[in-house]
Amino acid sequence: MRGADTTSWVTVDGNEAAARVAHQASEVIAIYPITPASAMGELADAWSQQGRTNAWGAVPDVIEMQSEGGAAGAVHGALQAGALTTTFTASQGLLLMIPNLYKIAGELTPAVVHVAARSLATHALSIFGDHSDVMAVRQTGMAMLASSSVQEAQDLALVAHASTLRTRVPFLHFFDGFRTSHEVSKIESVSDDTIREMIDDSLVEQHRTRGLNPNHPVLRRTAQNPDVFFQAREAANPFHLATPNAVQTEMDRLADLTGRAYHLFDYWGAPDAERVIVMMGSGVGAAIEAVEREAAAGAKVGVVAVRLYRPFDSEAFVAALPASVRSIAVLDRTKEPGSVGEPLYSDVVTALFERHQKSMPSVIGGRYGLSSKEFTPAMALSILDELDGATPRPHFTVGIIDDVTHLSLDVDESRWSEPDNVNRAVFYGLGSDGTVGANKNSVKIIGESTTQFAQGYFVYDSKKSGSMTVSHLRFGPEPIRSTYLIGEADFVACHHTSLLDQVDVLRIARRGATFLLNTHHGPETVWRSLPIETQRQIIDKDLALWIVDGGRVATEAGLGGHVNTVLQTCFFFLAGVLPPDEAVAAVKDAISRSYQKRGQLVLDRNFAAVDQAVAALVRVETPAEMVGTRRLRRPVPEEAPDFVQRVTAMMMDGKGDLLPVSAMPVDGSFPMGTAQWEKRSLAIDIPIWDPDICIDCGRCTLVCPHAAIRMKVLPAETLTDAPEGFRDKDWTGDRHSTPDQRLVIQVAPDDCTGCGVCVSICPAKSKEVVKHRAINMEAKADHLDAERINFAHFLDLPEADRSSLDLLTIKGTQQAQPLFEFSGACLGCGETPYLKLLTQQFGDRITVANATGCSSIYGANLPTTPWATNADGRGPAWANSLFEDNAEFGLGMRLALDHHEAEARRLLASLASEVGPVAADILEADQSHERGIADQRERVAALRARLDQLADPETTPLASRLRSLSDYLVDTGVWIVGGDGWAYDIGFGGLDHVLASGRNVNILVLDTEVYSNTGGQTSKATPRAAIAKFSAGGKTTAKKDLGMIAMAYGGVYVAQVAMGANMTQVIKAFAEAEAHPGPSLIIAYSPCIAHGFDLTHMMEHQKMAVESGYWPMYRYDPGREAAGEHALHLDSRPPKVAFRDFAMTEGRFAMLARSNPQVAERLFTEAQQDIDDRWHLYQQMVDVEHTATFGQVEE
């Protein structure tokens, strides 16, 4: 019987679907951002900020914690105090919650944790979806409920909240990260009344009554002894045993109220199926499609979806299977190395064994879909085939080519074609160009303005700048279960012609499909402008080519070339999903909903773009012949190394799925310097050097976030064979240098992103035309060919001898080869110039521990890495452990290096007589400067040669051991790098401990003042008055003074730097930190896209930040005290710019001033007071004679 709900359709993604229920059913929500679950927390916070109430009319309290461990602790506490409490997380975040999950479950506390399931970091990090995280908590005592679609993410979220109160067993409700969490889908919305109905108030009251209350106190969490712990652990059994029935009861209640029926295990397929797949999560959708088609054709096949995974109800599971079943394939979206089988497989086998003592079906187990690897109906067919074979493999994988252990099933994707009544559209865009946002809106329009069902899924590449996005949209008359990417599209749109050079966008087009291209070419010239491969596809597949100059339409509408609404309108016109007038009205309505708060002008301009879009759309008659010379770009040049050719290039080309297991390194180690082969050529304009004006300062190269401006100083004779147009000039930068030195400043034209930071910092201006500087942004098209030749020649010129450079100066460091180059960081990234500089100062002799975050993503997200090596093969040895443990991770490196060095020195001392005088030279060497390092390397080389000659049997083992440790006789620095989210929040405890350790590590905090990588959430580094996610009303508390905390130890070198304000101070700070024998902490001001200004001017903003006292620069060097000087040295002058004047130049502050002037006034005043107080304090500290001594750890 249908109860309270009446059908109401909404088009949402899985995160929103689950979060809405959670917000309705909770009183306290503790959150921490982590992909792909961040959106649930962000939405919950935003809803509470807006005053949205829960089912009882109260606004849930939402708090951001410092880590998932902290969130779990807060959840536990809130539960113990009787509040309905929830949290959202994924992956490592869920692992950090494990201790509390045991506690919460052990105490029989109703709670729900919603998880967007994601891979765990093993050999690599992955933000994408699988079940390795949730499977890691299956033993905690939490009940586990799996949703396999957006609809279920909503419905089973509610079942979870209702069931946990009914059972007292806490629930983990999970759905697949990205595939479900980020899929936008039309679903039947559960009403507020239904939510209210499902939550039993008497159970809420019981939960509250069990909460800690001094009016009727209890003591909870005793320490128990061997006599009773075991029994007490068993005492909760009845609750767990009762849970499956209770969940089914709640599912049935939901069915009564909504008409949507769920069971602990649901079955689709032939009633008399003999072969059955068992799985859970989003792959179920693809499996159902395959099974239903096969069953309709008479095949005896079926699929069981597991909903309640824990407690696993064997009886219900067996009951869900057709009695006819003979063989079962259990699919696990996780990997448990060394196990007999993966968890679901093991559970199924056990359940069957217990229930089918005599005639148990055969069971095989397979892994699929790790890290959002596609799972398609064709794969399901392969699995069913395997079950049908004479000797099915007991354990297999599907979706990859395993040519090592040969576990993978063969899959023929051509066996599957999607239903004819589903329209499929694929859009290629660039990150942040509005394509994804517009397509999300399009799905909503179709879902909410028509009777059709609609689905949108969005694929991103790994770069933060210039990334490609691919939107997959389906719509049709039936609910869409296809939980996999579109294989054949009826409509393909390419929003940027540059993508045609990189990707075969029409590979996905079906015969007769429509192709919409955004191009500035008209119908007469567009054909010739297309790559030959594109032309061929259009001809061969008989595609209908439509073009629109979206940039022109958008510009004329005052949108500055933002083409999303133009192309969205064209899509609707061509797709015919709505009559044109209704489509235009619907697009405008969607624009209104998206942008209404931004003002009428924004709406009017977008409306104008919509109105003009269709008129600008042109159908191009397809010529019969291909013309022109443009071709798809080879992913890498022929001179690239073998690995890059075989493996990296495949990933770059979007064909990584085709790489077999044997192509992969077995332990996650990848070759360095591969970014140099990934010529993305993103820039429209590139910097061109004018040597006539240049004053040889080197600033342009220092500030370049992508190491795309290079500098060399060379003897004139090395330039005699330079190509025509290669520019150089007299080097005047070093008075002590030999005469006839020439300076070359060279752009890497295909690696430059066109951010313009180099031009903005250039101090040299033409006497005749002041706007003309020594480096100027000019159209790349006018220079590309010449600059490619010039850059190739530049790379062939000799690198500077590091030992001859003054690495305490800008000019000196900028001649040193950068060993961090061409990263995929954002245009104008404030972090990367520091990292590049670091590698120029010490890159050939450091190990880097990198916290998870932006820097680990642009530093090591495949296919390439910017961390590089020099001609000797030396470079920064880089590794990432986790987000929370980076300081400890780096400390561990230090311990190992120190141990190796000490052992090498001990062995060398013991072999001194055998190896001769070089031993003493090595042991007593001064390595405090580049020359000393170079000399030591030579000595060590000599030592190795000597050790190779030793033939004395008594000394040979020692010599051999010494030889393997000899590298460590050359100093190796440890740099611990990460963002403020790590250093101030999740990793602060470890960072503090490492600072206290006295060990010689250098910690570089790239402080963007928000969690940049996950999209700009508040951290404790976020300043007062700034707007950030979780601080929508402006942060009301001051930024943590991390430097001051570190200074309190007395023995820690601490510096606060801002490259744009004082470059030399940064260089000095890096050098002093490296030289300091104990721990060092450098906090580097790093402008970020989340600050809300044009990052072209990030260096000027840094300068103003310092001038306002917002970011005071200082160096605190305990070593100075030994020389009788003050430890703290202020490197910036007293504030001379008002905070307000600085703040109003950045959107994060200015937005508050606009949206809420009264609050802004108060917070700006308080922020000014923060600045004044801090400056006063620092000034006082400058005069402090002596700080506490800090004992170094004894070597």
Partner: protein, 336 residues
């Protein structure tokens, strides 16, 4: 005892208690200082200009800013900023100030508008009228930098704007212009013909400056100096009596003496900005006292009696407002 001079005046049909009007400045943008100006005796206030260009710049800047980085990679949900309840773009903030001013003040509130498009001028003019402005001042300044645009082209642009706004609103309409016309008197007449009820002489432009350290140009607006009043004085004197419109004098009016001169030249009201910024709202009282004292001491019954008594038409030496005046000045600076 000599009766005190009646300082009341009319400005575009508005009855004002005296001729001192607080012109657009930061002081007229905040309620507390607006109230202080009224208490000090200001007869009317002109709100700061609503700049269409600024509104558009802010709104589109915010729009771009919020979209920057949105969906640029898989870890960013939407953009980098949270959704706020309101971004306060558009004229809302200005309109709130206007409404508050109307609620708090008893003196007339004149809204000021600087548009960039014909549609913008009329759209915002109507909004300002609808929200209760007693009058509207069009703050027009077009820098005619296009070498291909003739004087006639530029003048037509002014006239079309005024005519368009005139046809949109019914409240009194003042036009604030600069002095840089080949024939200012003719332009003034045509503006009145196009629908202006009053002319405000003259606005002062932001003047570029050059930073010699940075070799950069910087927009700058320095406060007026008293001698800048002379230019206004000339044109008020020349225009008085020639037009069926009110004349407001502005720029360089720092004290009672300047105000008196301009009234004698023919101004219906005198508008003050720089002196109020320098001395505070209470400076209005000082000026009014001086004004009253001067006229009363000389036994003027009312301002009407004095207004224009030294305009070009009424001056014993009409040519002094024209070129000969220039020659006389030159003579006065001859070396001794």
């Amino acid at each position: 005892m000599t009766p005190t001079t009646d300082l009341r005046t009319h400005y575009m049909g508005l009855d004002l208690a005296n001729p001192i009007v607080a012109s657009s400045s930061p002081l007229t943008g905040q309620i507390d200082t607006l109230v202080a100006l009224q208490e000090a005796g200001a007869a009317a206030i002109v709100l700061p200009s609503l700049f269409e260009e600024q509104i558009e710049h802010d709104a589109m800047g915010l729009h771009r800013g919020l979209d920057t980085g949105a969906d640029q990679h898989g870890e960013v949900f939407g953009g980098y900023f949270p959704e706020l309840d309101s971004y306060n773009t558009g004229p809302d903030r200005y309109l709130r100030t206007l409404i508050a001013a109307k609620n708090e003040l008893t003196i007339p509130v004149i809204a000021s508008l600087n548009g960039t498009s014909t549609g913008g001028w009329t759209h915002y003019a109507k909004l300002l009228e609808d929200e209760g402005a007693d009058a509207l001042e069009l703050n027009i300044y077009l820098i005619a930098a296009d070498a291909n645009a003739s004087a006639a082209d530029v003048e037509d642009q002014y006239l079309q704007l005024v005519a368009a706004v005139r046809s949109t609103v019914e409240i009194p309409l003042a036009v604030k212009i600069g002095p840089f016309f080949s024939s200012p008197a003719n332009m003034a007449r045509r503006l009145v013909d196009a629908g202006a009820d009053g002319l405000v002489l003259f606005n002062r432009f932001y003047q570029p400056d050059i930073d010699l350290d940075q070799l950069s140009t910087t927009p700058n607006l320095v406060l007026s100096s008293p001698n800048e009043m002379r230019l206004v004085l000339r044109w008020v004197a020349i225009l008085h009596g020639q037009l069926e419109a009110s004349l407001a004098a502005t720029t360089g009016i720092h004290d009672a003496e300047a105000a008196i001169k301009l009234i004698l030249a023919g101004a219906d009201v005198t508008m003050m900005t720089s002196a109020l910024l320098m001395h505070g709202p209470e400076h209005v009282t000082t000026v009014l006292d001086g004004l009253s004292h001067w006229f009363t001491e000389r036994e003027y019954r009312s301002l009407t009696q004095a207004r224009g008594s030294l305009s070009q038409k009424s001056s014993p030496d009409p040519s002094s407002f024209e070129r000969t005046n220039y020659m006389a000045n030159l003579a006065s600076y001859s070396p001794h």
